[in-house]
Subunit: 362 residues, 2 copies
Amino acid sequence: MTTRNVIPVIMSGGSGTRLWPLSRRATPKQLLPLTGERTMLQETAGRVCGDGGGVTFERPVLVAGAAHREQIAAQLENLGVAPQALVIEPTGRNTAPVAAVAAGLAAEMGQPEALLLLLPSDHHIRDAAAFRDTVARGARLAEQGRIVTFGIKPSGPETGYGYIRRGAAMGDGFEVAAFREKPDRATAEGYLADGGYYWNAGIFLFRADTVLAEMAAHCPEIRDCALQALRAARRDGAVMALDPQAFGACPSDSFDYAVMEKTAAAAVMPADIGWSDVGSWAALWELSDKDADGNAAHGEVTVIDSANAYVRAEGVKTAVIGLDNVVVVATRDAVLVTSRERAQDVKAVVDALKAEGRDELL
Amino acid sequence: MTTRNVIPVIMSGGSGTRLWPLSRRATPKQLLPLTGERTMLQETAGRVCGDGGGVTFERPVLVAGAAHREQIAAQLENLGVAPQALVIEPTGRNTAPVAAVAAGLAAEMGQPEALLLLLPSDHHIRDAAAFRDTVARGARLAEQGRIVTFGIKPSGPETGYGYIRRGAAMGDGFEVAAFREKPDRATAEGYLADGGYYWNAGIFLFRADTVLAEMAAHCPEIRDCALQALRAARRDGAVMALDPQAFGACPSDSFDYAVMEKTAAAAVMPADIGWSDVGSWAALWELSDKDADGNAAHGEVTVIDSANAYVRAEGVKTAVIGLDNVVVVATRDAVLVTSRERAQDVKAVVDALKAEGRDELL
């Protein structure tokens, strides 16, 4: 069986405000042990390691903000993973420039046709073997010049994700007929009933030269700024600090908008991998081990006469009595209390804190 | 109009575990500013001051545990109140010995017929003028050798209080026909319908010599131990540390059981004074200022799309989203989340912490 070499490009740029008050600017979601003993970054890095299932993962490229450089280095070292590059973004410019930097890096290393797997560091994937298999099957399309996006089969009419409508079959995947922005409820229900739609998971697989060519055609300014920022990067061993001036001049855009929605090379690979973007405390409740009453408790927690609660205490004794479906996240300086249904509305609190300039709580 | 001199005897012995996690052994309920800017002890001391409404309150006697001596002295000084005695209990022995000590102190001061008002330091009384008036009217009965207890007209079928059944009218009050232990719900509803029952508020008014005589008849061991502990007290200015050996030998009993349920001298004075024993966070919600949605918030609190919530944050930013009737009390090391209906069940958490030896949280 052929095995394909893939370079994982792990993006650790998010701030994860949807998991406030645990997730903060200084220690965002991906740097926290939310789904197990390892942090989400460690879980991600551990998933894209080694040889097997038709894929040989090379050492990863990490892309992160300067503020998290030391935490990321320490977490990877703790895991025994030595990244081949730790790319530091002077400012966040969304995911399109990251793709160009990663492709430029591959070219620089003399591997212009290298397969790159661009993936977020803060997603949960239950079935690592199925994930590898999807990468292996996607790689066959990527080798042929396709930019492959992973499509998650919808489990409900979610309004929080972008959707992909599949076109004609191609290998183990499909052409992309269309990308759809986050739909309203009725539209999402239509997509679900139709069966030909996938959630856009934000995981991409492509050849370095493919993406550079497509970006030259569809977003040349992003490509050029990003490559210039890489050329002018300050380098110290594996650490590459992108040039602030060049990267600062780069337009900020997502890989979805800047490339995928414009390119004719897009393909979607259905991915039945137990995916979650862990986008709220309610999503984390879904992923957590629960007691017989459906309560998920982390930390020093006492739950009495309650059901289907998510209770997380970090250094704070937390007691919940007689409440169902409640979400309680307690830290030493901030506490969130809501219901699973309203968990995504933590954004309103974060926005208020921003408006008040309460940086120490963000 | 005759005015009567009354010596307030303020008992600060309780631990107030029903208001965990704010109320702790080190700073129990009465030492906290729960109903306003002043602590409950300060509110109590401020209520039994000065001259007016038919009563002249003399400087108070304070009775408290050794651990709280300095806090109590500071809180009274801050209020400008100089107690005539600060009696320190080496161990808690409930309220009956306190009555004997206070009566012994009055005798020692050459006022064996002094009127003593024995009252807890952790009750809320909305109508201070009505309270004074009740004391003034009760004093007329106490002067005649009655031990007067304040009876609160029930506002609902509460099962958490003892009840007093009134007998024949006597002055502005009534004979006591019977004391009733905390009833079950059906019994409490019967009391309410009957109309001849009062809640026992644990506030007593009597002559010092009356109570010493009644205790000699009904609980001589308590009386003798308490008076011996007073005689052998270590004195330093107004501070009197009761003798540990004598007080330790004293049986522990409430004034209700040891005296009131046995004496023929009991009388009840109906007290329409806006009384609350602030026995739970739900009771405190009742007493609090609320916004248009019925939410009571203290400290750095954000409440969104919620109604009838009690949220108290002490040094911890606390956000509540989309929950009704919730109680949230957050401190830097412990958080309670429950409903108003279940607020009294905080006891289960406190008991568990005791069993686990978590003294730092108690």
